[in-house]
Amino acid sequence: MAMDDPQFAEKIRAEDPEALRSGVETYLGQIHRTALGAGLGPERAREVTQATFATFIEKAPSFEGRSHVRTWLFGILYHKIREARRGLQQERQMDEIEDVFEGRFDAKGSWVRPPHPVDLQLYDSEIREFFEDCLEKVPTQQRMAFVLREVDELSSKEICKILNISNTNLGVLMYRVRNRLRECLEAKGVKR
């Protein structure tokens, strides 16, 4: 049965064991990989995945079916990830990355410090290591937006629902996380 079928939502609400099982089977991999992408590490990613599905099953009777089952599941996951990462970083209103990036342009908006030609090779193991290092310092919400977009390839609309933010807000998060990553990778590349 298709996951976006209204009957499926109905069965989830009725705690139909087969429907719950197929919900777990369909989304387990994606949820687990997203938890890893959020930077939890293997142990905690496992715990958070289990906790997410435990809540999914426990709260099934209250699933309203207004959103897709996947959106709902990812919402639960996001909540758990926030809890797991609480206190790790402060979410800031102003972000220094904006000043850093602004500083690359002149008053007319032309490049003063254009992007350095860093050779970002996809399968370069050093680049991959740098990548994880660079993501380490990114606030949870930015990191989640990035993973939901780039790894899970969800639509803006769905990501906004999951993170409970506006579309404009999502744009700001993406802008910050991508520039932060790019600046960080560039800085590491230049040092080599």
Partner: protein, 88 residues
Amino acid sequence: MGCCRDITEKLASDEFREASLWKRLTVRFHLLMCRHCRRYAAQLKTIGEIARDLWGPQSEDPSTLESLEREILETTRRDHEGGRIDSP
């Protein structure tokens, strides 16, 4: 036409993904002419590719997933057997 700062801002914030054809063409046209922005755009693209490579579907270890699935489904079954005394 936008300046480089506007173009990079649009690229980074995904603004042109769901924008009108005209807006997307404006960005395309700028990239054709500006090698700095082209490099910037290419780097953003690679950043996405690295993320997909690290955490995309092919990164999953089947045995980890299998054991995780077993644990979750076992918990479900237990809950359902223990929790529903009045079910037939």
